[in-house]
Amino acid sequence: MSNRYISRHISFLVTVFSLALFSFTTVSAQDGEALFKNNCSSCHAVKEKLVGPALKGMSQRRPEDWLIKWIKNSQAVVKSGDEYAVKIFNENNKVAMPAFGLKDEEIKAIIAYVKAEEQKPDAGAPVTTPGAPVAQQEPQPIWLYLLIAAVILYILSSVLGRVQRTLSQTVRHKEGQPEPARMTRWESSLHWIRNNKKLVAVILIFLTLYGSVKGWYSLMSIGISQGYTPDQPIAYSHKLHAGDMQIQCVYCHSGAEKGKTAGIPSANVCMNCHKFVKKGPLTGTAEIAKIYKALDYDPDKGTYGPNPKPIQWVRVHNLPDLAYFNHAQHVTVGKVACQTCHGPVQDSMTVAGQYSPLTMGWCITCHRTTKVKMEGNAYYNDFHKQLLSKYGADSLLTVESIGGLECARCHY
C-alpha cells in the first residue's frame, strides 16, 4: 500500500466523520433556553409575573417530580386535589396552564435553565449561561445511520478489494503469468464498462426513465403550491375554532356566500367573541393580544385607542390573475362544501394551508364529474328541461354539460 493511497482514504474518512459529528451536535443541541422560549415564555418569565407566576425559586418551592407532573398536565394535578396545585390555580385567576407534551429530560432542562437564570443579576453584565444538561434521547435521523453504514461498507469493500487484488496477484505470480499492464482508474472503468455492456445499458435506461419521470413531475409542480402553509402573524388555529368550537366557516369568511372572495375576516369579527374570550386554550393571551394590539384595544378598560394597525396575514391561496374564481357561485349556487377544496380544515389545520393543487386540471376534473344543482333554482328551470330532453331524463348533468369547461367562464 502506497502512502498516497492511505492518506487519500484517511482524508476521506476524516471528512465523513467530521460531517457526522457536526450534524450530531447541531441536531441534538437542544437546551433549556430554547425549550423555555418556545413553550413557556408567552405566559411566564423567570423574575416577574406575566400571565402565570414568576418561576424564580420554583425548584425550591416544589420537588422536581411534582413540577414534571404539573407541566405535563396541570389540570390533572389540580383535579387530583393537590393542595398546592389548587392554590396556584386559584391564585392565578383560574387560568388553566395548557398541557405540554414534553419529555422528562426536556422539562429538567427547562428547570435547569430557570435555575441558571435566577442567579443572573437583574440587569447589566451578561452572564454566560452554564449549559444546561443536554438531553441525548432525541431519535437520530435515519440518514445518519445510512451514512455510518455507507462508511463501513466503503471500508469493507476497499479492504476486500485490496485482498482480492493481492490474492490474484499472488496466483498470477505462482503460475508465472505475466503481470497485466497497469491501468489507470479511468481505463479500468472503461474496461469494466466494455465487459458489462448489457448491465450498463439497463442501468442507463433505468436512470434515464427515472430522471425523466422525476424531471416531469418537478416541472409540473412549478407554480403549484399545494401544501403551502406559511407562518402567520397570529397563530390562529382553524382546528380550534372550526373544529373544537364548531364555528361555521362562513361566520368569519362571510364573503364566500356573497361574492368572489371568501375574505379574511376583519378584526371586528374576531372581537365578536374575543371581547369576552380573552384567553385561549392553546396560547393563552399571547395571540389574542395581537388582535387587541391591531385594533389598539384595551381589554381591561374595553376601549379602542387611536392607533389601530391592520394585521398583515400571509395569503395562502394565490390564484393567478388570469383565472376568475367566484366563491358565491360554488358555495351558494353549487352548494359545494368548503372542505371539498379546502380540506379537513376543522380536523387537522392548526395553521391554514393550501389543501388542493388549484391547477386548471383539478378544476376541470371537478367540473367534469360534479352534478349541477339545478333543482329548486328557478334560474335553471327551462334550461334543465331542455337538457333533460336532450341528454335523457336520467342523465348526469355535470357542470361540463352546461358549458362549465368553456374558456370564458373563468378567463376574461
Binding site: W313, L322, Y324, T332, E406, C407, Y412
Partner: protein, 1021 residues
Amino acid sequence: MSKKYWKGVEELRNDAEFVRLKNNEFFEQLPLDQVIEKKAQDVNTTPRRDFLKFLGFSVAAASLAACEAPVRKTIPYLIRPDQITPGIANWYASSYFDGYDYCSVIVKTREGRPIKLEGNTLSSVTKGGVNARVQAAILSLYDSARFKTPMVNGKASKWPEVDNDINGKLSAIAAKGGQIRILSSTVISPSTKKAIADFSAKYPTTKHVVYDSVSVSAMRQANLESFGVNTIPTYNFDKANVIVSLDADFLVNWISPVEHARQYAETRKINGGKKSMSRHIQFETALSVTGSNADLRIPVKPSQQGAVAANLYNAIAAGTGASAVSAPSVDAEVSKKIAAIAAELLANKGKSLVVSGINNPAVQNLVNGINSLLENYGTTIDLDNANNLRQGSDTDLSAFLDEVTKGGVAAVLFYNCNPVYTLPNGSAFAAAMKKMELTVSFSDRPDETTSVCQYICPDHHALESWSDAEPRTGVYSIGQPTISPLFATRQAQESLLTWAGTPANFHDYMAAYWNANIFSKASGSWNKVLQDGVFELPAATPKNYKTAANLNAAADAIGKTNAGGFEMVLYEKVGLGNGQQANNPWLQELPDPISKITWDNYLAVSPKDAREKGWKQGNVVTVKAGNVSVKAPVVIQPGQAFGTASLAIGYGRTVAGKVADNRGVNAYPFTSFSGANLSRVVSGVDIQKTADEDYMLAATQTHHTMMGRAIVKETTLAEWVKNPAAGNAEELLSVKVGKHEEVKKKAGDMNLWADFDSGNHHWGMSIDLNSCIGCGACVVACTAENNVSVVGKDEVNRSREMHWIRIDRYYSSDADPKEGESGDIKKMEDPSDMPRVVFQPVMCQHCAHAPCETVCPVIATSHSSEGLNQMTYNRCVGTRYCANNCPYKVRRFNWFQYSDNAQFDFNMNDDLGKMVLNPDVVVRSRGVMEKCSMCVQRLQDGKLTAKKEGRKLVDGEVKTACAQSCPTHAITFGDFNNPESELNKMWDPEGRSYHLLGELNVQPNVYYQTKVRNAEERKEA
C-alpha cells in the same frame, strides 16, 4: 476483350497518387479544418448553435429561478364597513359637474375606489345618458398631476398656514376697500352659491363673475331682450318634428348635449308601430357630429349664418303674415332651400324647433323671432323651466377684464376656471394677475392659471366631494363622495367658508341648506335623495311667449357684419371639449368622430380649397388673424364650407400634465369680443403654407368611403315606409350548377359548418344605425370597463390602437355606383366635397361560424354555448392569424406591454392611474390578441346574481358597457333565447335588420338596423 476506358492519363499510368485518390469520393478534402480553425480564432463570434444552446439554458435557468412564488400579504379591514363585501361592487348615486359637462351618475366602487361612472336613469335631465367626457372623468380622479397639498408661490404648504396667509391678506384688502372677485365658470350648486354669498357677506367688496369658456351669453342677452328673462330655456327636441340648427352642435357639445341626444334619438327611432321620424336640417360651417346626422346639411360660411337666420325669418314671416326684416342676400341655392325649409317649419307649427349656436345676440334674437312665429314656446322650447348649465355673462367678464386692466382688482379667487388659457388674451391677463395683491386658485390640478397664482387651495375632485346641482330649475341632484380624498385637498366651499369666518363641514352645510330651502318646497328626505341622487320638483307648465325684441335692429346688425377673406370657426371636439380634461389619456386617444384623428387638433379645410391652394393633408400652415398666429397641420375635411377653416379649442395646453402638454395648438387666442360677447368666429384669416416638414397626424381610420359596398345599409323614410326592407337587399352569391348554369343563392343557405347547440343563453346585440350619433361614449365606456390600454399617438399611427369598439365613419362618394352598376374603383376612394356621413359602431361580431376560431393554432379563441367568441389570453401565442382572418378587423394585438412600461407613460404606468382598473378583467400583456368579450364579466355577474336569488334573468338586467352608456340607446344587448327580449323583438331580417358583411355567412350575433334618413332624395351633393 472488352474495351477499357480511362478517365485520364493518370489512370492509364496507374500513378500512386491516383490510386490513393481513386476511392475518395471528393477529389479534394473539404476545407473543414480551415473553417474550424477560423472559428477557434474568432472567439468573439458565437456560432448559431452555441447561441441557441445558451439561449435554451438561460431560458430554463430563468424560468426555474422564477419558480419561487413571492409571499403575498393580504390585509383585511380592521373594522369592515358593513356595506362593503370585498369583491362586490357598491353603487352610489352622485352628480358630476365641472363647469362644462353635467351628468347625474351612479358610481361603481370596488373596495372603496370608484372605477366607473354610469348614467342615472332617475334623472329627468340626462335620463341615464353619460357622454364620453364625463365617463372619462373617473380617470381624471386618478391623475398623478393633481395637487397633493395646498401651494404657496409654487411651494407645498399646509392648510393652517395657507388659511392664515389668505385671511390676513383678505382682511388687509377689505380694510382698504380693495375689490375682491370670485371668477368662476357656471355654478349650478345652490349650496355653493350660498357659500359664495356667505363669503361675500364677510367681504362686501366681493363680486362673483361667471363666465363660460364656450359662451352662450348672447342667448341669455337675446332672451332678456325678447322675453325679459335672463335664462337659457330647456329644449324639448323630442317634441319637434322639424329641427333646424344654425351651427349648434347640440348632440355632443351645445349646452346640455346628453339631454339633447336622448331627446333627439327619441324622434329618430322607427319601428313597425312608429313610422315617422323627425326631419333635421343643419346649417353649419365645419362638419360637426350633429351635422353628420342631419337629413339635410347645408354648409354656409360663418358670416352667412346671420343672413340665413334673417332669410329664414322672412320666409316664415311671409307664411304667417308677420312683417319682414331687412335680410342680407344669400346664395341662390341656399335661398331656395330656405324657402323649402320654411314651408316644412310652417307645416309643423308648435312642433318644430330652430336653434343656433352662434354667440351673437342679433342672430339669437332672430332665432327667437322664428320660434315665436312658429309658436314653439311652450312646446319644444320651455322658458319656464330654465336650463342652468350655462350662466356665464360675457358682459360681466368684459367689465371684469376692464377692471383688471385698470388695476382696480386687488384679489381674485379662481373657481373651476382657467382664464389664462381660455381668455382671448390670456397672457395679458396672466401679466395683470401678477400685479394683484392676492390670487387664489381652487383648481385641483395644475393649469395655466395656477402657474401664475400665489395660492393654490386645491379642491377635491367631484368624486371626492359633497355637492348639489340644479341643472334645470326645480330639478336637483346631489353629489356624494365615493372615495376619501386621495391628497391633502379641501373642498373649495369649505375653503370659502373658512375664510368667511364660519368654517363648516360642507356635508352638514349642504344638508342644512337643503332642509331650509329645498325640502321646504316639497317634502323629501335626505337619505332618499342620497339613494336616488336626484330630487325633482314638479315642473312648471311652459307657456307660450312672443318675442318683444326689435328684430329690425337685429337684422340691421347682421347686415353690418362684414366678413372678408378666409373665415375660421373655433369648435369643440367630442373628446377634449373645452380642454379642461386635456390631461386625460382616454379622451386624447378617443378618435374624433369625424376626422378619426387622435391626440391632436388641426386646421380643417375643404377639399376644394385644398386643391386650389395646393395644401396637402399634414402640411403645416401658419394661421394668422389679427395679431394671433399659430402653426397647425392641415386636414382636408369633406363637408367643410368652402372658403372656411375650422380649428378645435381644448388643445395646446402648456401646464396640464405629461399627457396634455404641448399637444396641438391653443385656439382660444383667436376668440374675440364682438360687441359684448365672445365670438368663436374669425374672419380675414391668413393661411400660409410653411416650409416645415409635414406633421404626422394619427388617425384610426384612413379609408373614407364604403367603396360601393353596402357596409352601412341606408334608405330614406319614404322608401322604408313603402318597403320595410328598403336598402336591405341581401347579397346573393352566384353558384355553379352543372357545367355552365349559374344560380343566385343566399349565403345563409350554404352552410359550411355544423351549427352550435345553444346553452341557457344566447347573447346578442343590436345596433340601430338610425339612433347612433357617433358620439364615442361607448368607446370610453368600453375602455373603462375592460381595462383597454392607451397606446399613444405613435402607435395609433401604426394602426395599433387597442379600442375594442370603434365607430366607423363613412363618407359618400360622388363615384358611388347605383344598384346594379359597378363603379370606378379609384374614384370611389374619394369622398364627395359635401358628403353624406354615416356612423357604424363595430366591435367583435361574435360570429357563430367565426373565421378567427378555425385558424388559431392553439385554440386560444373558441366559441361558447352562449354565443360568445371567447378569447383566452393566456393560451394565446400571438400568431395573429385570427386578426388576419377576421373580416371585421376587430381584433387587437398587444404589440407591447402597455402597463408598467415607461414607454407608454399613461395611466397604467403609475400606481394612482392603475386604481381605475376593473379588478374583474385581466390586464393583458405583450404578445397576445384581445378583442371585445361582450363584457363577459358583466354577463357572468348578472347570471350569478340571478342564480343566487333563484330566479330567471330578466331582459335588460345585464348590459354591456357600450349598451349601458349609449345616450341614444342605439345599442341593445340581450338574449336571443329569451322570447321576451327586446333583442328578439327587434330582429327583423324582412325589415331593417342585417348582418354586417352578411354575404360571408359567418353568422354574427351582432346585427345592425338599416339607417333611415328623412330625406327626399338618396343623394345630396
